[in-house]
């Protein structure tokens, strides 16, 4: 850590800039990491409290977004471990009601998300995090490994395992109309 001082590291990014640039990503990542819609605002708040606290320590060794994603994964994981979350449905109900054309599209999107979240809920936290960061947030695998503080090879193993499970789950759900 001392050696990094030799090159006069740049000042840490400003909190408001980090917030503006990352709030939508944090929101989306938390949702796919298993945070219900009703809780996502609270959890975003929690993520940014951590960001605010730790920003002065950010050393620029990872990309800022990678660092923020790492915080998201930890906050979401802690949240999921809380007992009340575990016993509740991991996904939100599909909206119902009158449907005009734009609402139909929204409904299709909502249904697709419910399917996605149901499939993701079958993964354990480790596999889910790798899958979400690579397949949805579209980070390169090297950054996924940094965000999750795991060896690259481990991240690959988890990705492959997660893809297999997700593919099987989708096939099961779409073929037989099973629950």
């Amino acid at each position: 850590m001392l050696s990094t001082l030799a090159t006069d590291p740049p000042a840490p990014p400003r909190f408001d800039e980090v917030f503006r640039a990352h709030a939508p990503l944090v929101w989306r990542a938390l949702r796919r990491l298993g945070v219900r819609e009703a809780d996502v605002e609270d959890l975003c708040q929690e993520v940014f409290v951590v960001v605010h606290r730790k920003l002065p320590e950010f050393e620029g060794r990872a990309k800022l977004s990678t660092w923020v994603y790492g915080i998201c994964v930890r906050v979401a994981s802690d949240h999921r471990k809380r007992a009340h979350v575990r016993h509740e449905s991991q996904h939100d109900a599909v909206p119902e009601g009158r449907q005009s054309a734009p609402q139909l599209n929204e409904l299709a999107q909502a249904q697709a998300r419910v399917l996605l979240d149901a499939v993701l809920a079958e993964l354990d936290d480790d596999k889910r995090a790798v899958f979400v960061l690579y397949e949805i947030e579209e980070l390169p695998m090297a950054e996924v490994a940094v965000a999750l503080n795991t060896p690259l090879q481990t991240a690959y193993s988890r990705l492959h395992a997660a893809r297999k499970l997700v593919t099987e789950s989708i096939a099961r759900r779409t073929a037989g109309g099973a629950p």
Binding site: D16, L159, T167, R173
Partner: protein, 248 residues
């Protein structure tokens, strides 16, 4: 920063992938779910109180005005410096005027500008204080501003926030299962952090708990005090829903 690894498989959402179309559609829908402007504004409002004790961050609500968020944090940092170095009514007045301007229902934009201007002045004051304390002024470093403390000492501001947040979170969690406990935790928060940075959120929990306990008169009275104290709070709509659901 990192070259794509050639071992990286084609993403399942890609048209080049042989993934099930249903999965591709699901991934696309998942990726498309970003928060609305209103949701982002509510989030910004929620973070606002982290930094500004008395004012309602919600009144600075418009999303582009989020820049004000860091400004109000800087105000708090400046006030903290003042507090460490001996009170100065001038700086306390800075916060009060930002609060007052923000509370003006007629001029949200003007309020944001005023708050930002006040904050800018406070940042200058903070920078001066930081220089006095032989710390490099940085664009946003309350930690550096609080340079009177040794570098590795816990930060009073952050530690208080964490304690507040932990207590509030416990109260919010209890609300799902045990309203009486939620109320008791909210009241503990009120004792320990009467004008805390999360005072609004605590009051919301308390009011929800009272409603859940069918203590209607108390819930209504507390909600009235809430709206009197924070007339333009982003939580007002939620309170209306809570009281509406409880038939109050």
């Amino acid at each position: 920063m990192t070259e794509p690894d050639e071992r990286e498989p084609t993403r399942l959402s890609s048209a080049a992938s042989d993934a099930d179309p249903a999965l591709r559609a699901a991934l696309a829908a998942g990726r498309a779910e970003v928060p609305s402007e209103a949701q982002l504004s509510a989030l910004a409002a929620k973070l606002g109180p982290l930094a500004i004790p008395a004012a309602s961050g919600a009144t600075l609500g418009a999303w582009p005005v989020v820049a004000g968020l860091v400004a109000v944090i800087a105000v708090v940092a400046a006030v903290a410096v003042v507090a460490l170095n001996g009170a100065s009514p001038g700086h306390v007045g800075t916060v009060a005027s930002a609060d007052g301007a923000a509370a003006d229902a007629a001029a949200a934009d003007a309020a944001a500008d005023a708050a930002a201007a006040d904050a800018a002045a406070a940042v200058d004051a903070a920078a001066a204080a930081a220089t006095d304390a032989d710390a490099a002024p940085r664009p946003f470093r309350p930690h550096a501003v609080l340079a009177a403390a040794p570098p590795d000492a816990p930060l009073p501001l952050a530690a208080d926030l964490e304690a507040e947040l932990a207590l509030l979170r416990a109260a919010q969690d209890a609300l799902r299962t045990d309203a009486a406990r939620a109320l008791s935790l909210a009241d503990e928060h009120a004792r320990r952090f009467a004008d805390g940075t999360l005072a609004q959120e605590r009051e919301v929990v308390a009011i929800e708990a009272l409603a859940a306990l069918s203590r209607s008169a108390e819930a209504r009275a507390r909600a009235e005090r809430f709206t009197a104290r924070w007339p333009r709070s982003a939580h007002a709509r939620r309170l209306a829903v809570v009281l509406g659901d409880a038939g109050l």
